[in-house]
Subunit: 374 residues, 2 copies
């Protein structure tokens, strides 16, 4: 019988696992939050992943559990492990993607380069950090943030008063130095339970309004030293945290040629969508191989350059289908991936990948195809 | 709402449409012959495609109908068209893939190069053809043959006595000259209902026991003249027969540099599996685009060379899953596609694609990966 891989969460990341699962012969089963979600085709259950009974009923019929997102609570994850369920990534690893304070502390232990940081419990502690770091800093809620939510640039200890007020007793916010970066990069690594790991080439990510807008793969004008350093950081985090499946490490490249870890994700990641069409093994296939403990695939790019541009839903006229058709008609080399979501302003509803021998050409075609959705 | 594409037949060709359908945002629905077939994940109905009521019930909830195979009877297809259903390819085109005598007559009208041929009704007519063609010929049953079945090399008018006996009144067998070919080629073309068509590069196919074993894409050592001629033949057949969706034209290359049409298929075809990983737009995505009347994708190869090798089920020890894992471990650049079928001797259960800059290397890796299944 085919190995049954259960995915908790029915969003587009689970959806994009369907294609490689079919080709690999894996039986993909999804616990979706609602009917009609992105990964609906593979949904075998609908329910709330905060409810242990719901999750237990779902995992009864799978051989390994993985995730569309990092939001499944630790107590649920640990109950599954206690039940003997194979969970990848496991709770011991996933906690570092769920809690940014835990992550900062662990990365410090591992000696991984990162911005200066501190836990802060009130406006006085925050002001003290600001005074030591040029009067500006970034405050983050340790849990639950994504796509720029739960992140705020502050200039005064009182700028995060609302967040401090909402803190539970004993909890803290994370404050980080405001890094003067020249660009953002992302390093992906896939790791099997036994430790086999493969790295993708480091890529450049362009954010707009806190959301990943564009990815250039590999990162243009990256020195050999930078490429190696990014891979070393990625591998040491994957090993040090015991990650299984795909790991994405978001990085700042500073004007003095350092790279510092910004965020982690333990799942396929927006910065790796280019690999679906641009690498021998796409990140969704690689994630499935890793969590199913199958040998990992080659990560070599298929073309010198690949470009990924996200398509955000908006208040345009005409159906999304018509706009996809227009983009296809104009740009036959553009690979269009749709998420089966109703368009809403700012919501990611798909992306475009373009690969080629010339970076400027690839960027032009990807932007022109994506412009049909502006 | 997503466009609903209905596929009649639940084999591996329907299965391999699932991955691109998910990415394109098409709602793929399959009428499978049985439970648990290759394309089971997308099966919305199980039943006999010879039963008009079954087919009518299935197509009620789709926007366009296409096929996993060419076996749906003409009267069923014509009833659907009369009902107003969009059927691609339509019965007027599909009849030429269903009946080899009709095909030969139509290709003759179009002036397409093909082996000498004749309809023969009895041993005397067959002997007359043999006498005119050096004493050897190929006899084919006009309908129902595939993978070498319904094809026989004969040396005497009586060598097909059993087939003549089984003929209905007024029917005939097809006899063709035995072509002295140096190799077999295949040309694929995709065509939309309105006539837009794109061609893939001509490929070399290696048959073993009448079954496609290996494909080299593009065909090595093909002159520019040969490549152009193959494309012209493919396009003129697609246009002349009014094909919609993928068309595969199997060709003989003769020792005097002619190419002659052997067989036709109006669906994704084994000779095009390389394109899943080796071309910007794979044939399964292209077929869906064509039958859904979406703009066609670029057919440029992603690498100088791609090699496809079929995996046939056999009486090996160990599970198919273990053998796939061993192949993956040894050959991380090999793209392995599984059909979700129980292995039986000679049954196609999957294939391996390998792409690269060096043909010999790609052949070596593909054969070595596939050897795990010998």
């Amino acid at each position: 019988m085919a190995l049954r891989v259960g995915v908790i969460g029915g969003g587009q990341l689970a959806r994009m696992m369907i294609a490689p699962a079919v080709e690999l012969g894996l039986d993909l089963r999804v616990l979706a939050e609602d009917e009609g979600m992105s990964a609906g085709l593979a949904a075998t259950a609908v329910g709330d992943y905060h409810d242990l009974d719901v999750v237990r009923a779902f995992v009864k019929d799978v051989d390994v559990v993985t995730f569309d997102h990092e939001h499944v609570p630790q107590d649920i994850l640990r109950a599954l492990v206690a039940d003997g369920v194979a969970v990848h990534p496991g709770p011991d690893a996933l906690q570092f993607a769920q809690d940014k304070l835990l992550m900062r502390a662990r990365l410090a232990e591992l000696g991984v380069p990162q911005p200066e940081w501190a836990p802060v419990r009130d406006a006085t502690e925050l002001q003290a950090f600001l005074d030591d770091h040029g009067g500006r800093a970034v405050v983050k809620t340790p849990r639950g943030g994504y796509d720029g939510k739960g992140v705020r640039v502050v200039r005064s200890g009182t700028d995060a008063a609302d967040w401090f007020q909402a803190l539970a007793d004993g909890d803290a916010l994370l404050v980080e130095e405001l890094v003067g970066f020249v660009r953002e990069l992302a390093q992906q690594v896939a790791r099997r339970p036994g430790g086999q790991a493969v790295a993708y080439p480091v890529v450049e990510t362009v954010q707009r309004d806190g959301v990943c807008a564009e990815v250039l793969a590999p990162a243009p004008q990256a020195s050999e030293r930078l490429v190696q350093l990014a891979e070393e950081i990625g591998r040491s985090i994957a090993d040090g945290l015991g990650v299984t499946g795909m790991l994405a490490v978001e990085l700042f490249e500073t004007d003095d040629e350092r790279i510092l870890v910004n965020e982690l994700a333990m799942r396929p990641h927006n910065s790796g969508h280019w690999s679906q069409d641009g690498a021998v093994t796409g990140q969704f296939e690689q994630h499935l191989r890793a969590v199913a403990d199958l040998p990992l695939g080659d990560t070599t790019p298929r073309a010198p350059w690949s470009v990924m541009i996200n398509i955000l839903g908006g208040p345009q006229d005409g159906s999304l289908g018509d706009r996809f058709a227009a983009a296809m008609a104009g740009y036959p080399t553009a690979k269009i991936h749709t998420y089966g979501k109703a368009p809403r302003p700012g919501r990611k509803v798909g992306h475009v990948n373009v690969s080629g021998a010339d970076l400027d050409d690839a960027v032009y075609v990807a932007r022109a195809a994506a412009a049909h959705f502006d």
